[in-house]
C-alpha cells in the first residue's frame, strides 16, 4: 500500500532528519577532516592529504594509545570480576532484595558524573579517607601519592562504569536456571567450580555485553584522567580535547577521533557477529 508507505515515511522523517543532520553528518565531517591538510595555526586548507594520519605514527602517540587500551581493558576486567559474583548474588536473592539492590545500582547511574568523580578526588587526597585507610592497613606509605596517578584513573573508572557492567550481567543472571548449579553440586562439583563451569558459561552473552558497555565509555573517557590523573595519565579523549582547544588543530583532532571510533567498532563488530542481534544491546537505555 503506497499510502501506508507514505505515512510511515512522514512519521520517520523528524527523527531521521534530526539525527542525520546532527549525528551522521558531523561524523562524516570528522572523517573528511582527518584527510585535510592544515597550516601551522591549524586552519584547514584545500586539497587532500594523508600526512595528518601519518604524523600520528610516532612513539608518543603509540604510548598514549597503549596506555588508553591497558587502562580501559584493566578497568573492564575489574568491573567484570566484581559484577559476576554480584549478578549471582542478586539473581539468587528474594525478589524484594533483588529490586532493592537494583535500585541502589541505578541511583549512582542517574546522579551527576562530575560529582562522583569529585567525591573520589577528596578521598584519594593524601589527607583523604581512602589514602589514610590504605596507609593504615599498610598497603602504601604516607608519602605514596594516590591522587593524580594512573591508579586513581583506574579506580575512578571502575567506580563510574561498574553499573554499566552490573545491569547486563544481572539481566542474564535472572534468566539463568539455578537448578543447574544444584545439579552440578549434586554431581560432586564444588560451589566455586559450579559457578565457573556452569554459571559463567550460562551468562556468557551478558558478560560480553557488560565488557563492551564498560570498555567503550572507558576508552573514550576524558574527564576522569583530566581530574584525577597525573601528567602521564592522558588518554585518547584528553588528546582530542588538547588538539581541539589548546592547539586548535581540527584535522588532527578529527584523525584521532577516527582512530577512537575504529577501536570501538572492532570489538562491537565482534559482539554483533557473535550475538547476531543488535537489539540485545538495549541495556544502555537504562531500563
Amino acid at each position: 500500500m503506497p499510502r501506508k508507505k507514505l505515512k510511515e515515511t512522514l512519521m520517520s522523517l523528524p527523527s531521521f532528519v534530526w539525527l542525520t543532520a546532527f549525528f551522521l553528518l558531523p561524523f562524516i565531517i570528522i572523517c573528511v577532516y582527518a584527510f585535510k591538510p592544515a597550516d601551522i595555526y591549524g586552519t584547514v586548507l584545500k586539497g587532500w592529504t594523508l600526512s595528518t594520519l601519518n604524523s600520528l605514527g610516532n612513539v608518543y602517540f603509540y604510548k598514549l594509545l597503549w596506555r588508553s587500551l591497558w587502562m580501559s581493558i584493566f578497568s573492564t576486567l575489574v568491573c567484570l570480576v566484581l559484577a559476576v559474583p554480584m549478578g549471582y548474588q542478586m539473581a539468587t536473592s528474594s525478589p524484594k532484595w533483588r529490586n532493592l539492590m537494583l535500585m541502589f545500582i541505578i541511583i549512582p547511574f542517574w546522579s551527576s558524573f562530575l560529582i562522583r568523580i569529585f567525591a573520589w578526588k577528596t578521598i584519594l587526597h593524601p589527607e583523604g579517607l581512602f589514602h589514610q585507610a590504605c596507609v593504615f592497613i599498610g598497603l602504601i606509605s604516607q608519602s605514596t601519592p594516590l591522587l593524580y596517578t594512573n591508579f586513581a584513573v583506574v579506580i575512578v573508572m571502575v567506580y563510574t562504569f561498574i553499573p554499566f557492567a552490573l545491569l547486563p550481567i544481572y539481566t542474564s543472571a535472572v534468566k539463568f536456571d539455578f537448578q543447574l548449579i544444584e545439579a552440578a553440586m549434586d554431581l560432586g562439583a564444588s560451589r566455586i567450580r559450579a559457578i565457573t563451569k556452569v554459571f559463567i558459561p550460562g551468562i556468557k552473552k551478558g558478560i560480553l555485553t557488560a565488557a563492551l558497555m564498560v570498555f567503550i565509555p572507558a576508552i573514550g573517557t576524558y574527564v576522569i584522567p583530566d581530574l584525577v590523573g597525573g601528567v602521564n595519565s592522558d588518554m585518547i579523549g584528553n588528546k582530542i580535547a588538547q588538539k581541539t582547544f589548546a592547539e586548535r588543530n581540527i584535522p588532527e583532532a578529527s584523525a584521532i577521533s577516527m582512530i577512537l571510533t575504529l577501536i570501538i567498532l572492532i570489538p562491537l563488530g565482534i559482539l554483533v557477529l557473535y550475538s547476531r542481534k543488535g537489539r540485545n544491546l538495549e541495556i544502555r537505555s537504562r531500563e
Binding site: 523528524p14 534530526w18 570528522i30 539468587t92 541502589f104 560529582i115 577528596t122 553440586m185 560451589r191
Partner: protein, 256 residues
Amino acid sequence: MIRSRICLTITVLVFIFLYVPIILLMVNSFNDSKYATVWTGFTLKWYTALFSEPDLWEAFINSMIIGISSTVTSLIIGSLAAFTVFRYRSRLQSLHFGLIYAPLILPDILLGISLLMLFVVWNIKLGLFTIYIAHTTFCISYVTMLMISKLQHFDLTLVEAAHDLGAGTYQTFKKVVLPLITPGLIAAALLSFTLSIDDFVITFFVAGEGATTLPLYIYSMIKYGSTPVINALSTLILLATFLLVIVYHTFAEEER
C-alpha cells in the same frame, strides 16, 4: 544450597565502594572545617555561601532552560520515532533504529567533537542554542529506546478497535493512545531532563565561551577552586537526583 558466601561478601563490598564516597561528600558539606579530614562541628555556612557564588544562579537558569527545551523537543521527536519503529517493521525502520541506537554506543567525546566540527563548518555561533541542539540529539535516542521498551506492552488492536468504533485519528490519539503511554512519557521526560542537566562532556565541546551550565560551573569549581562549597552544591544536586529517581520508579512501577 546455591547461595555463595563469597558472592555475598563481594556484593556488600561493592555497595560500600559505591556509596561511601557519596555519603562522605554529603557529610562533609556540613563540616565546619575547611579540610575534609577533620570534623570540627556542624555548620550550614557552605550552603549560605552558595548564595554569594558568582554566576552560579545564571548557570542554574541556563541548565534549566536547556533541560526543559531539549526534553520537550526530544519527547515529541523520540516518541514519534518509537511509535514508528514499533508499528512498521520494515527495512526502513531497521535503518531508522540503527540511526537512533548508534549515538548511545559511541563515547560522549565523539558526539561532542563531531557536533563542534559541524557548528564550526556551518558557522553557527556557539552558545545556548548549540547546547540545546546537542542535548536534544542524545536525548532523542534515549527517549526512543525507553518508549520502544514501554510500547512492548502496548496493544495495537486497541487503536484499531477505536477506529472501528468510529473514532478519528485525533480522537483515538487523545482518548486511547495518550492515556496509555502517559506513564512512559513521564519516565522518558525525567530521564532526558536528568541526562541534560548532568551532561558535561558534550556540553564542554559545544558551549563556547559565553554559555555556562551547571556541570560546566561545577567542573571549573573542581578544577580551579576546591572549596567545601562544592560539597554543599553537590549534596543539593544529589538529593534532587534521588528525588527524581524515586518519582521515576513510581511511574515505572505503575506500568506493571
